[in-house]
Structure formats: C-alpha cells, structure tokens
C-alpha cells in the first residue's frame, strides 16, 4: 500500500480540537426543527409584530373598538366627496393598468425574442428608470408637463397652440406619470412569465397553416395571458394605493383614496375615519387578489419563478379563459382576418417594427431622466426647458448644500441598516420557506409577501398608530422597522428563487467531507448565493432609499431623508438644484445596478454548469 496519506489522524484528530460550544451549536443545528425555528423566527416576528398586529389595531380602531360602530364606513360611502374619491381611484387605477399593459406587452414580447447581449442593454434601459425613485421621476414629469415644459414649448413653437395647455394638475398628468412609474414593472412582470413560453408553439401553428396573426392570437397570446393578468393585478393594486404621483401631478379633483387617508390622519386628525378608509382600501386590494387567485397562483404576481407544481391551478384558469374565448369565436375570426390583412405587409419584418416601437418606449422611459440631467446643467435660476445656457452652478450649489448632504448621509445610513436587516431576515426566511417540509409551505410563502399586498399607505397608517403606542415613533429603530418590512418580501422572493435552483447535493458533499453546518454555510452555501444576496441587498437598499410614505409618518424629529427633503422642496418650489440632486442619485443608482450586474455575470460565467475547455 503506497499511502496517499498514511496518517488517518486527519479525519479524527481535528474533531478533538474543536471547542465544545461549537459542537453544541452544531448539534443544535443538526436538528431539523430547531434549525427551522431559529431561521423562521425573525421574519415571523417582523410580519406578525409589525404588520398583522398593527393592522388589527387600526381595523379595531375603525369601528371604535368594542363599540363596534360602523358609522365611519357609512360616512365614507354616503359622503359625496368621499365616494367620488373612491370612484376616481378606481378609474385612474383601471386606466393606468390598461395603458401600462398595452404599452408593455410588445416590449416584453420583444425581450423574449432577442439574444442575450441586446437583452441586457434593453434591460438596463428599463432597470435604471425602475430603480430611480418614484419621486424623482414624478418631479421630471412636473417639469415636462408644466406650462413652461418641453411639451408646451414645442407645441407653441410648432404653432399648433398659442396658449400653454394645462397638462399638469390634471387626470391626464396623473395617468401619464403613473404609467411611466409602473411601466418598467409591467414589462418585467410580463417578461418573466412570457420568457417561459416556447416560441416554437407559435411557429408550429404557422407550419400547420395558421396565418401569423392567427398563430399569435390563438397560440401565443393565450399562453401569455396568465402573465398579462398577473401584471395587470399588480399594476392595479399598486396604482390604487399610490400616493406620490397623484398628489404631485393631479389637481384637486384628482384626489385618490391615499390622499384622503393622509389628509384625515395628518390634517383633520380624524383617526377613525382614516382607519376606515385604509381598511376599505385594504379590503378592495385583498378582494382583487382573491379574485386573481381564482385564475392564477398568487405568488406568480411577485415572483413568477416560484410557480411550480401549479398545473392544477393553471388548468382551471386556462379553462376559464378558453370558455370566454369560445363564446367570442365568430367575432374573433373576423377580427383576425381583418388584422391579418392590415398587418400582412409588416409582419414579415415584424422584429424591426417591434424594435422601433421598443425604442420609442425606452425613450419614453428615459426621457424624463434626460430632462433632469440637462436641467441640472442649466444656467438659469428657474426651471425652464430647454435650458438657456450651460453652467455648473447647480452642481456647485449641491456640493455646498449641507442640508442635502445631511439628508443624503442619513438616507444612506438608513438604507444600509435597513438593507442589512432585511437581507438577513429575508434570507433566513427564504431558507425556511424553501426547505421546510410543513404542508402549508405555499401559504407561508404568500404570507411572507404580505407587505407587498397591503397598500403602503395602509401599512404606514397602521405602523404609525402602533409605534406611537409602543413609543417607537420618531426613533431610528422605528423607521428602520418600517423600511425593513417593505423590503423583506423582495429579499424573500429573490433568495427563494436562488435557493430553489440551488443544488443541495453540494451541501451534502461539503458535510460528508467534514464541514460543520456553519462551515457549510460559510464556505459553500453563502458564496454560491452571493449574486442573489447582492441583488437582494441592493433592492432592499433602494426600496428604503426611495421610500417616502412610511418615512413621512415615522420620521418624527430626525434628519429628513432624501426623498422627504425632496418632497418638501418640490412642494415649495421647483428649482434646478433638485435636478442636480436627482441627476446625482440617478448616476448612483446606475452605478449600483451596473456593479451588481457585473458581479453577477462574472459569478455566473464561473459557476455555470456548461462544460467545455
């Protein structure tokens, strides 16, 4: 026997050297249910303690506790103004949803067809607006739609109109702004489910004699409907709970339910009424989600990669869709023929048309950011577009604006702390949710997404009351809790997807070759999850960095966060300093996204399973 290593000590000896405490920890971690309990606790405490309980409190409050009076609800529905606010909310929500879906669908369709280099470029153009704060984008629209804005200026210059059109403070303004805000999300949500559809199905249909239009309408479109539907649900529940954009771009008659809640809570101090309104909003949202769950697995809305083993649901849903289609069949055929005649000349080169369209959409998405950039170099001291000249004065001002610096630093600190907590809690939760053997796994996963289902304004109201009670209101910790609550679901979604595709035999291999549970985690599991962790942390950071509503309620007397400072200044006056600040933030966000993408690409290239010398 030539020995590779004649000393067998290696295997046994190291065991003796390990301190007892480590053995104890390893022993504990070896037990499944103990491990489960440890990793499940943080997220459960967060969700129950800071979402379920606060929500229960305001619901209880809305009926004035044990008095059980429904007078506030009656008032919501009997008061003319309140009722019209409700209707306006639904109307805007509906319009925004429909428009974003229509605009986004072709782009998502194109994304599924192009090769990966083009895909990553187009994606970047969508990602940057997506991660630019709602507030900044809304600010840009205030400029663009303003009386002196580029649209009015161009129209006047072209001689089409004499007087500036009133675009700002109209329902039109609200809808444009909100579509812009929601479009990137609509594209990605649809894309992530459409990318799983095999284009060969439509091609096969064409080989079998279907005209391109028929192939699309009869094969591809039906297959993509679940994705469209889930994107629609998401758009709708976000838009009816939206605060920033309608508040800034709308006029007095465009008030939505969120503004009603805020006014009652902060100005009128009519707490019960605001609770009742919040509960109505929550109820509407939950009803929509319930309705949606009849057609699609709910988790598909936020994380399409999660949907597995849901064929049953998928079948019942396609059943419903196909019944509807059957009924409309004759009309459908006629329409198809018509469209076929019209589109026949274009469809042969359809990719090019799609490209042209997509570029237009990308322009729409990025134009506001470009406007902000140009304005930040304006030589004028007013917001006029195009700027009369170029200067660095606003950047210089920003360099010396200590209040902005403070806000920036405070936001970074808040974002970093929130991101760290959210990433830890969310990752632990994702481990638990993916690996638990509990039969209610799916319900638990949905529960972990609940902060995304409850409109932010409702969370803000509930947390506000709750934190006031437990004397956390106005503290840094109180603020962090709110932000963590909002970002944890994103972390869960990302980490759960990563963990599901994680090859667990690697952990087994590490264990049998001598790695203790903590060593497995440190040397194998976490390094392999690095890109996902980074993405999750970045998303959590940006969520906090952009957050306005919760902050408005919880901040107390602390330094203003960047979005809050922005908010105050926008309402006070529009000046190019805001543009410089916005431009700076856009640059930061872009850099962060690029870095994350770069790390991810490098990691993937290294660890992908492809074989080749």
């Amino acid at each position: 026997m030539t020995t590779l290593l004649a000393k067998r000590k290696v295997a046994g000896a190291a065991v003796g050297n390990v301190p007892r405490s480590k053995n104890l920890l390893s022993g504990l971690l070896a037990r499944r249910w103990i491990r489960g309990t440890i990793i499940a606790t943080p997220i459960l405490v967060l969700l129950v303690g800071f979402l379920v309980i606060p929500l229960s409190i305001i619901i209880w409050g809305s009926v004035e506790g044990s008095k059980l009076t429904f007078s506030h609800y009656v008032r919501i529905f009997s008061d003319e103004t309140n009722l019209s606010v409700m209707l306006q909310t639904l109307k805007v929500g509906f319009a925004v949803t429909l428009l974003s879906l229509l605009v986004a669908y072709p782009v998502a369709y194109l994304l599924t067809q192009i090769e990966s280099r083009a895909l990553s470029i187009v994606t970047l153009f969508i990602l940057v607006p997506l991660f630019t704060a709602f507030l900044i984008r809304t600010y840009a629209w205030m400029i663009i739609l303003g009386r002196q804005g580029p649209i009015n200026n161009t129209l006047i210059w072209l001689g089409i109109i004499d007087e500036p059109l009133p675009l700002l403070n109209t329902t039109f303004g609200v809808i444009v702004g909100m579509v812009h805000v929601l479009l990137p999300m609509a594209i990605f949500t649809m894309y992530s489910s459409m990318v799983r559809i095999d284009h060969n199905a439509a091609r096969a249909a064409q080989i079998l004699g279907a005209k391109p239009v028929q192939a699309f309408f009869r094969v591809y479109l039906p297959l993509s409907l679940p994705g469209v539907f889930s994107a629609g649900v998401l758009m709708f529940i976000i838009s009816i709970g939206f605060y920033i954009t309608p508040a800034l771009l709308g006029g007095p008659r465009d008030a939505m339910i969120t503004q009603l809640i805020v006014t009652q809570l902060t100005t009128l101090l009519n707490f019960e009424m605001s609770f009742a309104s919040a509960f109505v909003l929550l109820l509407v949202t939950l009803l929509i989600l319930f309705f949606a769950s009849l057609f699609i697995p709910l988790e598909m809305i936020w994380s399409s990669s999660t949907v597995e083993n849901t064929n049953r649901a998928a079948r019942s849903k396609s059943q419903l869709f196909s019944n509807a289609k059957q009924a409309m069949h004759p009309a459908l055929t006629a329409v198809e023929h018509l469209i076929h005649l019209i589109t026949k000349p274009f469809l042969t080169r359809n990719a090019r048309w799609l490209w042209a369209y997509t570029i237009l959409v990308l322009l729409f998405l990025t134009a506001p950011l470009i406007v902000i950039f140009m304005l930040s170099f304006s030589s004028s001291s007013f917001v006029v577009f195009p700027p009369p000249g170029i200067s660095l004065q606003w950047w210089e001002k920003l360099l010396h604006a200590s209040d902005w610096h403070e806000s920036f630093l405070f936001s970074v600190k808040l974002g970093a702390v929130s991101a760290i907590f959210a990433t830890i809690i969310g990752t632990m939760g994702a481990f638990w949710l993916v690996r638990t053997t509990l039969p209610i796994k799916r319900a638990l996963f949905l529960f972990s997404l609940s902060p995304l289902m409850v409109p932010v304004i409702v969370i803000a109201t509930a947390l506000y009351m709750f934190e006031a009670r437990i004397h956390l209101l106005g503290s840094f910790a109180g603020l962090v809790i709110g932000h963590v609550l909002l970002s944890v679901p994103y972390v869960v979604v990302i980490m759960a997807a990563a963990l599901r595709s994680f090859d667990q035999s690697l952990e087994t291999a590490a264990a049998i070759h001598g790695a203790r549970p903590m060593q497995v985690l440190r040397l194998v599991t976490l390094p392999l999850l690095k890109p996902a962790l980074l993405t999750a942390a970045l998303l959590a950071f940006l969520t906090s960095f952009d957050e306005l509503l919760i902050t408005m309620f919880m901040i107390g007397r602390q330094t203003l966060t960047l979005p809050f400072k922005f908010w105050n200044d926008i309402k006070y006056e529009l000046n190019p300093l805001l543009s410089a600040a916005s431009a700076f933030i856009v640059l930061l966000v872009t850099a962060a996204i690029l870095t994350t993408l770069w790390i991810k690409v490098r990691h993937d290239r290294r660890t992908s399973a492809s074989i080749g010398q």
Partner: protein
C-alpha cells in the same frame, strides 16, 4: 488507512414504507463491495445511512470499532463520490480537493502536498487552477474522486459515480477506480444498477431486492452459484425451468423438469418432493441435432423457435414442451440450426442448481 464497516440489522422506514430491511453486512478493511439492485431497491438509502444523511430506523452501523449512527456526517471521516459529482462550482480544482483538509484546519503546507498527490493520483495535476465548469465530465469525475480520497478517509462511498459518463469513459474510469482503490487499499462501498460494473470491479457484490440483501458473494459465485431466483435472473441471462425434486442421491437431486422430462441437478437445500426452479446459464447448454446425444445427465428435445446470429455466438430459443430454453453457442464454424429444426439440448449436472 482503511477500516472495516459493519451493518447490523439495519432498518429504514419512510412513513409506512419499509425501504431497507434487516441489512446485515460486514465489509473488511480494503475490500471493494458493491450494492447491486434494481431501481428503487434501497441502494441509495443504505448508502445515505452509512454516510449519515439518513438516520436508520433500527440497527447499528460500526465503522472500525465505533458505532457511528449518532455521529453526524462531518465527523464520520468518510469520503464520497456523488453521481453528479457535486463539485463546488465557485472553487478551483485545487480548492475543491483541498476542501476536506481546509475544514479540518490542516496546515497549509501539508494541505498543499496532499492536494498535489491526490491530483497526481487521478492524473489531473495540470488542471488545478481550472474551475469545474471548464472540465469535461470525466475530468470532473476524477476531481470528485480526488476530493473524496485526499483526507485519507476510512471508507469511500460511491453512488453510481459512472452513471453520467459515456460508455468509453465509463470503461476507462472503472479501471482507474480499481487501480486507485488497490493503490490506497481503501475500503469502498460502491452503488450501481449496472451488473457489468459490479462484476468487473467488486471483491464482493451485495445484491439488493426490495430493501433486502438477497445474496452477498464474489462475482464468480454470484454468477455461477446464485442462491436465489431473483439473483439468477437479475445477474446475467439464465434459464429457470419449473421442476420438482423426486429423489436425493448423494447431494444431487433427481428432478422432473416441466411436465415429464427428468434430469439431475445440484440442490440448494431442497428436500424430496419440493418444487423449485432449475437454473442453468444459456452458455452451459449444448445444442445438437435431435437424438445425437445420450451420455449426458440432462437432455431435452425440442424445436428451434428462433436463432439469432450475434457475431461471436448464436442465441437460440428452443421450445421443449411448455418451456422455452435459451441457448448460447460459441460460433466456431459449425452449421447453425434453422428455425423449426428438431434439436436436443443438454447440460452437465454441475452447471445447474435448483433454486427456490
């Protein structure tokens, strides 16, 4: 340094499913034992219990003189090669191989030396700085092997390690694994459902069926002296003819094969009057023109039902009454029997056994 492995009455239940039953097995130090069995027979489950990924529902496992059922996997000091290799994709080849040493806090210099020797042993020395995704399947396999042996484990487990390789590579790796096992004198438990692999590589083969060990024997004995109908039919091709023992004569049995033909066969513990199955390998049966033989113990006459030319041999199926008998005859230029030809088939008593 190799260690013995002893499994005592191991049981495994998954809910109401009895997956491993009464496993009793001793593996000597330096021995290569293969678990062979059909899919779902419990091979992987048995291996997982040795590795410590599953807790046995009953029984005990001894590694050397120590019981390991309560020892977590990372303290068992066992090496393992996984079917999909399970190489760590974020580590280089050298880091992968060094992993078992790193987690045991082995000194740098010693680690380096052992990694180098392990890589040399699997002939992968020059690939140390590659990442696993830059290697072919066979190369990944070698690295997985190097990682499993670098810390001189007391026992090496392999779960269908060759399953993902193409045929040529598989032949090659079989030889390599055998070479390394002999060189390091390692105790190996190898899992496969490929009987060729099992027959070529193992010192002993443990045939598993429905969670039970049905026979543990070396390749030769397993092939020629199966003790059980399952083994006879699972390993290699065999004829199993229904028979009844009429008389016992100095260890050998006079038997009635099928309805009427009589023959002589070794017995496997049967008593007079027992019925069983007469086992004989197709290559042990000779085929003649009908009536040409009379001096052999077992002769049946029948008709050729099919004759397949397979190159080095011809495979006949001969119908004798109700039974079909498969015969494999080496092709040495003799004339082949066409379908429908009346023939006699014969075999020596020593080549047949009555099995239950």
């Amino acid at each position: 340094m190799s260690t013995s492995l002893e499994m005592k009455k191991i049981q495994k239940w998954y809910g109401g499913l009895h997956v491993v039953r009464d496993f009793d097995l001793n593996v000597d130090p330096g021995e290569f034992v293969t678990f062979l069995g059909p899919s779902g027979s419990g091979k992987t489950t048995a291996l997982k219990m040795i590795a410590g990924f599953e807790q046995p529902s009953g029984g005990d496992i001894m590694l050397g003189s120590r019981s390991i059922v309560d020892v977590p996997p990372y303290e068992r000091g066992i090496g393992m090669v996984f079917q999909n290799y399970a190489l760590f994709p974020h580590m280089t080849v050298a880091e992968n191989v060094a992993f078992p040493l790193k987690v045991r806090n082995v000194a740098k210099a010693e680690t380096e030396q052992k990694v180098r020797r392990a890589l040399e042993l699997v002939k992968m020395g020059e690939y140390r700085d590659r990442f696993p995704n830059q290697l072919s399947g066979g190369q990944q396999q070698r690295i997985a092997l190097a990682r499993a042996i670098v810390f001189d484990p007391s026992l090496l487990l392999m779960d269908e390690p060759l399953g993902a390789l193409d045929r040529n590579l598989r032949e090659h790796m079989k030889i390599e694994i055998m070479r390394i096992q002999k060189e390091l004198n390692m105790t190996v438990v190898f899992v496969t459902h490929d009987q060729d692999e099992a027959l070529v590589m193992s010192d002993r083969i443990a045939v598993i069926n429905e969670g039970r060990l049905v026979q543990v024997a070396d390749s030769n004995n397993l092939y020629y002296n199966p003790t059980n109908r399952f083994v006879a039919s699972f390993v290699g091709e065999s004829n199993l003819l229904p028979c009844r023992v009429d008389r016992i004569d100095s260890g050998a049995g006079k038997v009635t094969i099928g309805d009427h033909a009589s023959g002589v066969s070794r017995l496997n513990g049967q008593a007079r009057g027992d019925s069983g199955w007469l086992f004989v390998r197709p290559e042990h049966i000779d085929i003649w023109p009908q009536g040409a033989v009379t001096d052999v113990e077992n002769v049946l006459s029948g008709v050729v039902e099919s004759a397949l030319f397979l190159g080095e041999l011809t495979r006949y199926v001969v119908r004798c009454g109700n039974e079909s008998i498969t015969v494999k005859q080496q092709n040495r230029g003799q004339t082949r029997f066409a379908n429908g030809t009346p023939v006699s088939v014969s075999w020596n008593m020593g080549n047949s056994t009555v099995l239950n």
